[in-house]
Homo-oligomer: 225 residues x 2
DNA sequence: CTATGATTCAAACATTCGTTTGAAACCATC
DNA sequence: GATGGTTTCAAACGAATGTTTGAATCATAG
């Protein structure tokens, strides 16, 4: 009767079904059906549907953000007090996520698709939860970017970081997007190729000339990426 | 009794509520309450909730895509058979959307937020609907980009277009995103500044050096954007 | 073996949902 | 005024939802 698997089977089923159907359209009966457990097990093990949703994110998201911070620590340690290059920072943040997204069998790919989708989720409770989870890592990375790009206004860096997140979310969603279907002939990209493609795009965008709202105030020149 | 407003009041209320809560979490009773109409009016005027969802998108999305095509036509007419510059094409596609997003009072801003969110919506019926609506405009723009960037592999262009869409979606969502909340100190950007910021980022990404998966095959050089 | 706590179970509960129904009210035309 | 079509209304319908409940089952320790 004491089945250590019940809890993890619910989590796995929920993760897949949330990705496929969204939170609202995935019922607990769908999840328990897929996990082959009893409906009451959800409330026994998790307390509520909301708590289950948060649990689905917790461990992977914690690992993702901790890994990002570890990567940044390694880079900063190796740099011995010098500022990092923007490319390094971008690779630490986005590269770790893309590596996770490349892990099909372990569920990382599905999770990153769910995460990318969830960042535009209307539900305030989910947005607040994610915001809380991301606060420390975002703060660290923005500080590192400010140091790496001293000539770029902070607002510009923040907005570009935000655009980069959108690009990554769509990259991860990939063939799910209606545009891809409409475009028709886009081949599936293998994880390494997708990473290379996205990184190139992100660095290009990050190091693009400043828009007119700033260029008049402070001429800028390109630096090594 | 014959109230030409009932239908449009339902549409307006639905548009706002779908943006705020998502499709599944917005009930018809919420919509009819906000619109001050009877619950059965939805089925009388629209037939079903799904049909209402599609109606919410139809007229604005048709206008958006037609305006994009008109802009592209104008550019091509002025170019007299020469290929357009990539920047022109990007401005025709994304600029029109951002102009719509700048229209707070007329509801364009809310609509673009809804649209950006909807592109990652799990529901297959919504994705199929949007894909169908976008097919012609996407096809035209990809053809124009291929002509503008003859040295760039087509797959690269398509993926970069996709990344750009993600960046735009997040740009429009703006302060809704958990990352922005976590970042804390990002100031609201006025529409013109946001457009300039995003365009700079998009062109930078589009014209970024090709990733390693291609660079070995075909050396590339920068062209005028 | 018994007692206790943990876990699972089926059923029930209260609520909510999109859709339907038949009547009432309204409008336009003759 | 009568007629037919349109629109709105309140209530009902059947289904689905997350949560709760009390009993049964299981596992462990004494």
């Amino acid at each position: 009767m004491s089945d250590p698997d019940t809890r993890s089977r619910i989590l796995s089923a929920a993760e897949l079904l949330f990705t496929e159907h969204g939170f609202e359209a995935t019922s607990l009966r769908m999840i328990t059906g897929a996990a082959k457990v009893n409906l009451a097990a959800v409330n026994y093990h998790f307390g509520s549907k909301e708590a289950l949703i948060q649990e689905v994110f917790k461990s992977r998201l914690t690992w993702l953000n901790e890994e990002r911070l570890r990567e940044l620590d390694r880079l900063e340690h190796a740099a011995k007090g010098e500022a990092l290059k923007p490319r390094q920072i971008v690779e630490a943040f986005f590269g770790v996520a893309l590596k996770m997204a490349a892990d099909v069998k372990g569920g990382g790919r599905n999770f990153m698709r769910l995460l990318g989708r969830t960042y535009t989720e209307p539900s305030a409770f989910i947005r607040n939860f994610l915001g809380g989870e991301d606060a420390a890592v975002i703060s660290r990375f923005k500080t590192a970017l400010f140091a790496a790009l001293p000539d770029v206004p902070r607002a510009e860096i923040l907005w570009r970081f935000h655009f980069m997140l959108g690009a990554m979310a769509y990259a991860i969603s990939g063939a799910d997007a209606p545009h891809i279907v409409a475009a028709g002939d886009l081949e599936e990209s293998d994880p390494e190729a997708l990473t290379a493609r996205l990184m190139s795009f992100l660095i290009g965008g990050l190091r693009a000339p400043l828009p007119e709202i700033h260029a008049a105030k402070k001429p800028r020149e390109r630096k090594a990426a």
